[in-house]
């Protein structure tokens, strides 16, 4: 009868042998679907909504200009962030020139400047940036927006 006595009581433990596989799967999923964060935002930002949006293709051809209020309390006015620094409007041309340096000649007309501006920014700041971009002939721009109804922009 000893054969039957061996039977254990209670639930068997769940095998964790496949846990690494599961986690690796998740890891690969995230590695494939995401991109490295390039800059640390120094400004507060909520992008406006729009419906007529286009996806920006070829991220390597896009340079970003961030506009918004500073995260540090007590600093008023719209701030412009290029790379990791708060900058002036005049710095934009050097930023774009530096960006052009890293691309071969034939890609330069394809370079796009994406303006990521906060919903409460005043248009004056944006106009200054556009004027600066026109001066150096960087004419392709993109107003970064989220997809959504425009009525959400109004409050």
């Amino acid at each position: 009868m000893s054969k039957f006595k061996k039977k254990k009581k209670g639930m068997p433990g769940i095998s964790t042998a496949s846990l690494p596989d599961i986690v690796f799967m998740l890891l690969f999923f995230f590695m494939v679907t995401t991109v490295m964060r390039e800059t640390d935002l120094k400004i507060k930002q909520t992008l406006p909504f729009a419906t007529e949006v286009k996806k920006l293709e070829r991220k390597s051809l896009v340079s970003y200009i961030y506009v918004g209020k500073s995260k540090v309390e007590g600093q008023g006015g719209d701030k412009i962030q290029l790379n990791d620094r708060i900058s002036n409007v005049e710095d934009i041309k050097y930023f774009i020139f530096a960006e052009r340096e890293t691309h071969p000649e034939e890609e330069i007309p394809l370079l796009t400047t994406s303006i990521k501006a906060d919903i409460k920014t005043s248009v004056g700041t944006i106009t200054d940036i556009k004027e600066e971009l026109r001066n150096i002939n960087a004419l392709k721009i993109n107003y970064s927006t989220r997809k959504g109804d425009v009525s959400k922009n109004m409050n």
Binding site: E52, K54, T145
Partner: protein, 207 residues
């Protein structure tokens, strides 16, 4: 010599290592897709250039003030949700003859479905939308207005494309992007774009 068995490597901590990597990637990467309204800035003009003469009826003026109120044609306040219809009405009016396209003679717009009001725009290729904004306008409103104006053109192009090729313009562009070699799709897009060219001009903002 006795063959010794190699001790098996303990894989128990593999999960921990994988988790560590996973968390690292979760923190350092972003998932957002960049979307936005694409525009092309006008080239810098020499100071002394004469502005081309335009008939007032061919220009649709949209003004946004610092309180984010929207006014069209200098006399009518409207809400943002009315702007698209007003713009469509203006572009699609077709009250007269347009600019000649290529070799062809200047002709009337035979694809327009507008009111053909002689006091409004002549032809979609003559109709210009001029956007004036104040420096104090909020960016949200500015984007909304731009979006509605681009939307008006998209609506018109969709309608025309549906009539000519039984497929919307958006769908046409999407197919063309998936199939870059297809010349007939490109040709269709070109025709639609020629019939409703997107002419949005931005004036310098007033202080």
């Amino acid at each position: 010599m006795a063959r010794r068995e190699l001790p098996e490597i303990n894989a128990g901590s593999m999960a921990d290592i994988a988790f560590l990597l996973l968390i690292f990637f979760l923190v350092t990467t972003t998932m957002d897709v960049d979307t936005g309204i694409s525009r092309k800035l006008p080239e810098k003009q020499p100071e002394d250039i004469d502005a081309p003469k335009l008939k007032e009826k061919n220009v649709f003026v949209v003004t946004v003030n610092r309180n984010n109120n929207i006014m069209i044609e200098g006399d009518k306040f409207i809400q943002i949700d009315q702007l698209r219809d007003e713009a469509i009405k203006f572009i699609d009016n077709g009250g007269g003859k347009g600019n000649p396209i290529g070799e062809a003679e200047a002709a009337e717009c035979d694809w327009c479905e507008g009111a053909k009001d002689p006091a409004s725009s002549d032809h979609p290729n003559k109709a210009i939308i001029s956007l004036e904004s104040d420096r104090g306008t909020s960016y949200g409103t500015y984007i909304s207005v731009q979006n509605e104006l681009v939307g008006a053109y998209t609506d018109l192009r969709n309608r025309l494309s549906k009539k000519m090729y039984n497929i919307t313009y958006i769908e046409l562009v999407k197919q063309s992007n998936n199939d870059m070699q297809n010349e007939s799709l490109k040709e269709k897009i070109k025709i639609i774009k020629e019939k409703y060219p997107q002419i949005i001009s931005e004036a310098e903002p007033f202080k």
